[in-house]
Each structure stands twice: as structure tokens, then as C-alpha cells.
Symmetry: C2
Subunit: 387 residues, 2 copies
Amino acid sequence: MLPSIYRPAETFVLGLLGGGQLAKMTAQAALQLGMRIAVIEHGENSPAGVMTKLEFPEGWKEAGQLGQFIDASDIITLENEFIDPHILDVIAEKRLVWPSPATMRLVQDKYTQKQTFAAVGIPMARFAEITTKQDLFDFGAEHGYPFVAKTRKYGYDGYGNATIKRDTEIDMVWRRFMEGEEPRPLLAESFVTFTKELAVMVARNRRGETAVYPCVQTIQQGHICVSVLAPAPIEEELQRRAQEIALQCVETIEGVGVFGIEMFLTNDDQILFNEIAPRPHNSGHYTIEACHTSQFENCVRAVVNAPLGSPHMRVPAACMINILGERSGSGIPDSVVDALKIEGVSLHLYGKKDARIGRKMGHLTATGATVDQAFARAKSALDGIVW
Amino acid sequence: MLPSIYRPAETFVLGLLGGGQLAKMTAQAALQLGMRIAVIEHGENSPAGVMTKLEFPEGWKEAGQLGQFIDASDIITLENEFIDPHILDVIAEKRLVWPSPATMRLVQDKYTQKQTFAAVGIPMARFAEITTKQDLFDFGAEHGYPFVAKTRKYGYDGYGNATIKRDTEIDMVWRRFMEGEEPRPLLAESFVTFTKELAVMVARNRRGETAVYPCVQTIQQGHICVSVLAPAPIEEELQRRAQEIALQCVETIEGVGVFGIEMFLTNDDQILFNEIAPRPHNSGHYTIEACHTSQFENCVRAVVNAPLGSPHMRVPAACMINILGERSGSGIPDSVVDALKIEGVSLHLYGKKDARIGRKMGHLTATGATVDQAFARAKSALDGIVW
């Protein structure tokens, strides 16, 4: 689609920091547009690493192959919000990287994230910075139990969260996070009683043009996203409100790339901001089959400053269900044959070498006339995955 | 999706003979299913070659890297029906290759192709083997003018065809094909007056399970497929008949893989067989966005003997338009920005290094509520491609 910036006789190379499934699907979109990809990761033959000759499997820690990766790439994006911002600064000295180091610093810390959005009136649960153990007691006294203690950085899929149901649990939680080898700074957040969890993907390019994806419902089990219903089976007015909140978040931080905004729908129909991820998101995988432009393609378009594509659905409904490992051992399921037989279902397997219980190994997306039909198809297919 | 046959601790590797756009899109499907790919081609950085570390750019002629490619692959398929069948025999000694060498031999020769299908009653234009120049005169005398002389092998996109409008042209045509360095054996075929050209993709796996795609209309300009309308805007009864003919062709030759069957719709509503290609086909690119399972994914499933996926459309209508080079020089268009802005259009650029006038450089697929809407979107997007 574009010539290389640095080697004009060659094709543009999109650099991917990280080689997991998000990088893989972003790579797929870039390749469809006629680009090439470079991948840096710690380890060979990652899901995205197998897709290119420009694979840098020695990673970016302790210099590693970072310099070679930077040199091979024209513009760089990422799949993992936990990249040390110093690494991004090193990259930014030589190459455009999106989302920017500034965006990443802001978003990586859940406390600064919330502060930034609260300051512009985005509705969310009450929260506070936690510096001492007493702060936890004070928060519980002021806002009630249960409440949630979260690490400010590096938490995902529930890791780094602790729900505190009574003050007698505070000592243990404090020890867990703050008295180990590496203290993990915390924030506290009111527990939200929600009826549904929602998510909206938003893409924004360097010109400030945005594309807002449908509001979907995400269903979690044990803190891991398990299934996604698109569009969310809630009133259109609520879907629109969720989309507005999501858009406002991305515009507030002037983010470039694609962002996943997670929200709660409370039992009195309030929509509260929960978290933002500055990268393609599990809740947006359905967009590959169900929307005119996938979240991955809009991520690519955004970082190269091309016009964004339509985020609208091209089918009435879709359902994505994650394929989580059910044993350790080989990353290849024993059988997917029965899943392949289900009408209207697309199977995605990420090609990870090793399975673990609960590890995201792939996903299934079903399209259909209604959310119920799509869900039934996807569930049926999931039953056909044998580990 | 599958472990390697020969290296069970590793992931399955699908080997692709040829690295052009058909191999690229087949590779995309294989990667989505968690497989890896190996590509052999004459030249580096082909559209599929950039997608793998297992790239063998020295090709298969004069041994080249054929042995290394075979060794790296678990099962092999192809994108080009003109592979010398001896190469396929060499491969078949060590690896499963689909379609089989026997299928390829039969299909590569347009005369044996037609004989085989005529023998089971598939309707087609009258045709005859041409051994001497007199045979051409005799054919014209018996079946009338104009008629078409075609090379039995290696013709595609109109290359190797000559329409003979009167007997005075026969000398020149004979000289062109038979009196050069390498005589090109011929067949003669009655000229068909058609109202539309149709195509149907059929996938068939090693178990004999089949998937028959919608009947589409293909629109040619100067012998090159330019656009495809899905489904074909003809009566459903005629669509079904075309699908039946296509299915019968593939079952007759017991083909394994995916096959593109081209047909004519005559002005008295007859459907006549024209040609079969034993590989993914230009007329099937729309299936990526518009069908539950693309032709490429079903090709992969067929050759590994997995159950085939649904060939049904998940949107009401689609239109594909080829992006053909409009100048020589860089394979990257000057601009695609305006094409990217059109709602409902997916842009595919193959990543070929060099453009030539008329060369297939990519395609656009639009989906829509009707064929007319899809066509309008695709046409609009094509106008936005600037060479």
C-alpha cells in the first residue's frame, strides 16, 4: 500500500512490538494491504513471528535485537501495553511509534488513567490512590465493602486485582502486593454492581479522524473474557452512550491507534468507565468477520495515517468465544474437526507452541441473523474443540 | 490446527508451489488456522514469500530448492495449473500433493479436459482435436465461422486463444502456434454467443465431501476477469444448474482441493461448460468477505482432509473488481487513499514488486444489500486507486 519511508524502492514494513495473537492479527491486516511486517519478541516462532523473515526473537530486553528491529521497520506499533516506556522512548528517537510513549505512560497506570478521564467528567466508580495500608482501611470506611484493590500497573485478565470483602482481609492484601520483592503500587476502587459488562473499540488516526465500533457485551469467567455478543443486547440509547464515552476517552488522551474501552452497565442503567487498553482488544476480534473494517486493519490504517475504514457491521449479529487451553502440553488441540462442521463459524488458532489451562489459544467467531443464533453457533463449535 | 506429520513436536506446514497472490491468500487462511507455510517460487519476496521464514526463492526448475521445500512441508498444494507434472511426480514420491498429479495432467490439457466432461454429458460448445492445418479448415466448414483455436496447454487470461473469423485467417493462426520454435498443440471450439459468463467454485476434500459456492457472473475486458457479481443476477434455477454442472465436473475427475469452473449462459438460457482451473480462482476472491468460509480456507481444509466449511454467503451481495496495473514501474500505487474511504469495501494489494499494464496487482471487494449497491461501492473505490 505504501513505499518504505527509509528505503523508498522497497515496500513499507510495519514493525510489531510483541509477537502474540494481537500482533498476528494485526500482521494479517497489514499483509492484506500489501505491506510487510517485522516482529520482535522474546522467543522464536511466536504467532506473528512465523509470518515474516524479519523476525527478531531475541527481544528488546537488555538491548537484544531492538536496534535491528527498529532499523528494519518503517512505523512501529505494539500489542502489549506493558512495554517499558523507556523502550518506547528509544524507539521514538528513530521511528514513529503509535500509540505514542506519552499515551502509553498515561494509560499504563490505572490511577492516572482514571484521573485523566474523571477530570473531563467521564462517569466511573469512585477511586483513590493507595499509599499506605491505612489508606485501604479509610477507603473501606468511606465507600463501603466490598471494594477492589488493583495494582496501578501490569494487571490484566484479573491478575493484580483483589476484592476486599471486609477489613480483616486488608492485611493479607497489603502483604500480597506491597511486601514482596517488588512492591506493586495500588489504587482502590468501589465495587460496581453491574448487570452487564460492555466494551467499545475506537480507532483514531494521526489526523484525529475516529472510527467507533459497535457496543458489545463481554462475558467474563474468572476475570478472563470468555465471550462477546455484538451488538450488545441492550437498548440502542445505551449502546450510543457507551460509544460516546469510549470516543471521549480516546479523544481526551489524543490516542493514535486502536483502543478497547471497557465499561459497566449498572442496574440503574448507568454506564461507568472501567478500563482502557491502548491496543487491539479481545472484545474486538469479532470485527474481522462481522465489520467492514476489522479493528486490526483500522489499527494499521491509524498508525500510517490512512483514512479509517467503516466500523459498521456487515452482518446483523456476531458472537466470539475464546478458545482457552484445557490442559498443558502441546498448543495444538487434539481435534477441531467437529468445530469445523458448524455453519457460520470461523475458527482462529493462534499457533502458540504450548497450551496451559486458561491460556488464550484461539477463538471462534460466529455470525448470524440474531445474537442468539450467533451465540448458539459459536457455543456449538466450542463444544467441538477437543483438547 | 494440526501437528506436523513428519515432525510431530512441531506445527503443520502447508507447502505452497508458487508465491503469487493465490498462494498468499491461501497462506492467510492456513495461518488463521494455526498452521505454518512454506513457499517455493522463482524469486525472493513474492506476495506469499514474504509471509514465511520457510521461503525457497530459487524455485523448482533444474532441481533448485525443490528438495528442501519438500522436506520442509507436510502437505503441498499449488496455485498455478501449469506446473510440469513431472515436478508433481517428484513431490508425490515423498509428500501428499493436492490436486494430484493425475488430476493436473488431465486438467492441464484443455482437450482431455473437455473430452472427459463431454463423456459424462456435461454440455459444452462443440470442439475437436487439431493435428493438421487442414483440421482447422474442416472444423470451420463443419461448424461455421467464427470459431476459436486454443492451445491445449498453458493458455490463460486469453493468452493462447485465437478467434478465426474466416478461412483466410487460418494460415496465420497455424503459423503463430505451430511453426515457431515450440509448436503449441491446438484444439478448435465453436464460438459461443453468450449473454453472460458465469463461474462456480467447488471444494472437494479427500473424503469426497464437497462444498459448492454461489454462481457468480464474471465480466471480462480483453480476456481478463475484471469484475465479479455475487450472486449472479440470473434466475435461481439457472444458478442451480450452473452449480450442478460445476459439481459434476469436480466429482467426475475426483478432484481434491478447490476448483474454478467457468461457464457461458447462452441467449437461449443454456449453460455451457467453458474451462476448469484446479486451484483458487479470481472469480472466488469475493468469498473472503462474503462467505462463511473463503475458497482459500476450503482449499486448505480440503487438502488436509478436514471437514469443509459452509460456502454460503453471509451477506446479501458482493462485487469484486480487479486492480490492474495502469503503468509499469513500482508495484505500489501512487495513492489508495480515496479507495480506503468508501464504505463497505475491502482493499487487497498483493505486494508485487513491479507493476505492468494489465497486471493483477490487487482487488477490491464490496459487500452490500444488493449486487447493484456492491458494484457501485467497488467501482467508486476503484476510481480512488491512482497509479
